[in-house]
Symmetry: C2
Subunit: 398 residues, 2 copies
C-alpha cells in the first residue's frame, strides 16, 4: 500500500468514530474471513488489504479501534497504523473477541448487513451464524443492528484526501478526452473510439471506472442504442452527434464524465437549430439540478428540479437518475439523486451531505442527429455543488 492509501484508511477509521457518536451506536464490528474468496466492500474503507483467518475489526464510539486477526495477518495490520491494538491469535478468535466486547459493554453492535444496499451487505450468512453462536451466552445477539446508515455516511462523506484523488482522476480523464477530440471525424467507428480510450487506459496504467466492456459507452448518430450498450461498429457520418460516457480508476478512485461532439456536414455554416436548442435545454436542466444539490436536500428533490427544468424546456424526461455518488466505484454509496420510482426504493430518500461527491447527468435525443449527453462531477460544500470537472460549456464541433 502507498503512504497516501494508508493515510486515507486511518482518516476513515477516525471518521467512523465520529459517525458512531452522531448515529448513537456504541460499537461497529466488521466480521470477515478469507476475503480473497468473499470480500466485504467495507474493507476498502477501513483496511485496504485481504485477511485470511476469521477476523473482527472493532471500532468503538470512544475512539478505540481493535483488530482481532490470525497471527500471520498481524504485521500487515500493525503496519497500517489504523488500529490501536492488534490482537493476533493462533487457535481461535472467540475468546479474544468476547473479551473485547465484554470490556466495551456496547448497547448496540452494528454489523454489515443491509436489505437494500449491497455496499453495506458484506457479512455473509455463514459468518452471521458464526457470530451469533459466538455471542450465544451473552446479551449481545439481541443488540446486533444493521450498519447500513453508518456505512452510507462513511462511504459518502469524502475526506479532503479522497476528494483530491477523485479530482485527480477527473482531470486525467479530461486530458484523455481532449486527446480523443481530434480523432472524432467522419468514417471512424464507435469501436475505434472505444479502442482509443482503452489504449489510453492501458498506456497510462489506469483502470476503467466501471466494466471494461461498457467503459466507454459511445453513441454515434441517430441509429445507436442509448444507454449501456457495447460499441457495435457504427461509423461516424457528417450530421452525427457523438456522445462518450467514460471514466477512469486511478489510485483507487474514479471519475465519470460524458462529452458530446457534433460532426458538421461540409455545407453547414452553423449547427442545426434543433441541436443548439437541445444543448441549451440540457444546460438549463443540469444547472437547475446543480442549484438544488446542497446539504440537506433529499435525493429525489434534486432529481425533480433537473427533471422539471428539462420538461419545461419542452423535452421528455430522462429515463434514469440525475445523479449518483462516485468515489471508490462509479456507483459509490446509498443516496441516489433519482425519481421516486419503485426501482430506486429508499435510496432516493437519502439526504445530501457536505463532502459527498456526485456524478450528475442527463441528456436529450435530437431526432436525425443523435444523443446529447451531459455528465459532470461535483463535490458538495456548505454552500452547494462545486464542479470538480471543467464542465463542457459548448458542444465540441468537428
Amino acid at each position: 500500500m502507498t503512504f497516501e492509501a494508508t493515510a486515507i484508511i486511518r482518516e476513515k477509521t477516525e471518521q467512523a468514530v465520529e459517525i458512531l457518536k452522531e448515529k448513537d451506536i456504541d460499537l461497529w464490528i466488521t466480521f470477515v474471513r478469507e476475503t480473497s474468496q468473499v470480500k466485504d466492500p467495507v474493507l476498502d474503507l477501513i483496511l485496504g488489504f485481504d485477511l485470511t483467518w476469521t477476523s473482527a475489526l472493532l471500532i468503538h464510539r470512544s475512539g478505540a479501534r481493535v483488530a482481532i486477526v490470525g497471527r500471520y495477518d498481524v504485521p500487515n495490520v500493525e503496519r497500517l497504523g489504523a488500529y490501536d491494538r492488534v490482537i493476533g491469535y493462533d487457535a481461535a478468535f472467540q475468546q479474544p473477541l468476547l473479551a473485547e466486547i465484554e470490556a466495551l459493554r456496547p448497547r448496540q453492535i452494528a454489523v454489515n448487513y443491509s436489505d437494500s444496499d449491497p455496499a453495506a451487505d458484506g457479512l455473509t450468512y455463514g459468518m452471521f451464524r458464526v457470530l451469533s453462536r459466538t455471542l450465544a451466552a451473552t446479551p449481545y445477539p439481541d443488540r446486533l443492528v444493521s450498519a447500513e446508515a453508518l456505512i452510507a455516511a462513511l462511504r459518502g462523506r469524502k475526506t479532503a484526501s479522497e476528494i483530491q484523488l477523485i479530482k485527480n482522476a477527473v482531470e486525467r480523464t479530461e486530458e484523455i478526452l481532449a486527446q480523443l477530440s481530434p480523432y472524432i471525424r467522419p468514417g471512424v467507428a464507435d469501436t475505434e473510439v472505444a479502442d482509443f480510450l482503452h489504449n489510453s487506459l492501458t498506456k497510462n496504467g489506469y483502470g476503467a471506472s466501471w466494466d471494461w466492456d461498457y467503459c466507454p459507452v459511445v453513441t454515434v448518430g441517430p441509429d445507436a442504442a442509448v444507454g449501456h450498450a457495447m460499441p457495435s461498429g457504427l461509423r461516424i457520418k457528417p450530421g452525427n452527434l457523438v456522445q462518450v460516457d467514460f471514466g477512469i480508476s486511478h489510485y483507487g478512485f474514479v471519475s465519470d464524465l460524458q462529452r458530446t461532439w457534433y460532426v458538421r456536414s461540409p455545407v453547414e455554416a452553423t449547427i442545426p437549430t434543433a441541436i443548439r436548442q437541445g444543448w441549451d435545454a440540457t444546460t438549463v436542466a443540469l444547472e437547475a439540478g446543480r442549484a438544488a444539490l446542497k446539504p440537506g436536500a433529499r435525493g429525489w428533490e434534486v432529481d425533480a428540479a433537473a427533471r422539471r427544468a428539462l420538461v419545461e424546456e419542452g423535452y421528455p424526461e430522462y429515463m434514469h437518475a440525475f445523479g449518483h455518488h462516485i468515489g471508490r466505484t462509479a456507483h459509490d454509496g446509498a443516496t441516489v439523486l433519482g425519481p421516486r420510482w419503485e426501482r430506486y426504493g429508499s435510496s432516493v430518500e437519502g439526504v445530501v451531505e457536505t463532502g459527498n461527491v456526485f456524478a450528475i447527468e442527463l441528456g436529450v435525443v435530437v431526432p436525425g442527429h443523435g444523443y446529447i449527453g451531459r455528465e459532470e462531477n461535483v463535490v458538495i460544500t456548505a454552500t452547494g455543488a462545486e464542479y470538480l470537472s471543467h464542465p463542457q460549456e459548448q458542444l465540441w464541433i468537428v
Copy 2:
C-alpha cells in the same frame, strides 16, 4: 468470455445436476445482486460474469436450469447458453422467483452458506433476509439447507476441460522455472529471483497463482525464514539451498509448484551427504503420500502416510498440510490433505474423489544449507494420483 470459458460453465451446470441427484437435493438457488460489490465465489463456476440487479440462478435435479435476472443482464446470460430459460424482469424479481419455485415444489432448497467453508458462503445476510421474506407465505423457508457439500463436490471434481487448463498452467510454470534455472547463482538476491518471476508473469500476460507479493516465495540458504515470507534481499552464496514456491494463473486456472537448487561451492566434487539424504527422504515421503492419495481416502489419512514416512526417515514433521485442492484458486475447495489439528477443523475429514486436482508438498531443513521444498500437482483417477507436473527427480545443481 472465451469460447472455452463458456463451454466450461455449461459443463459445470450440467455437473451440478448430477451432484444434486447424488446428494438427494431437489433445488439449488444462487441468490445475488450487484456482484461487483460482493461476489459469491460460486459465480465463477456457474456464470462467469457479474450480475447487477437481484438475481436467482436455479438448478434443479430434473436438469432444469433457470436464470432470473434484471432485464439488462438477459443478453449476457442468454449468450452463455448454460440456462434453459432466462427470465428478465423490470420491476421486481419476487413474482417470477416464486412462480418457478412453486412449479418445482422442491423438498429442499440449497443456498450458499457455510459455517466453515468460505468458498461456499457467498450468500450475504441481507440477501438471506430478502429471500426469507420473499418465501414468507410459502412452506419453503423451512426447506432452506446449506449448499456446502454440493459446492465442495462441484468445485472439487474437475471436468476434463478444467484438468486440461490446470495442466496447461502447470506446463507454462515449468517453462518459466526452467528459464529461471541459469539465473540462480552466487550473488543473486532473493528479491532478484522474485523480480525475474514477476517479469515472466507480466511479459506472458499471466497472473500470480496467489497474492503477488508472496508469489513466488524464495528461500535462500540457512538464514531465510521458511514459509510465506516476502523476499528480503538475502543473496545466494556457495553452499546454499535455494527453494522457490511459485505458480501462475492462466485462463482462469492456476498451478502451484516448488523447485529446489543447490549452489555448489567451487571445492565440492559432490553434494554434501546431509543434502543428499534430505532430498531422498523428501522423495520417499512425497511418494508415500501420493501412494495413499486415491479415491475414497480421507484427507487426514493421506497426510498421515506422508508425515509418518518423513519421520521414519529421521526428519521432523512438516508444520503444514500435505496437500490442498488447486483449480480456479491455489486453495480451491473444501477437502484438505492435512493432519487432524484444530486449525484444519473438519476440512481434513473430506474424502478424495476422482477428478480432484491437488498440490502435494513437504520439505526438510538441512542445517547450514537451507530448505529443501518439494511440491507437485496431481490429478486423481480411478487408480490413484497421476502427476500433472513433471516431478523434480533430482536437486538442480548450480
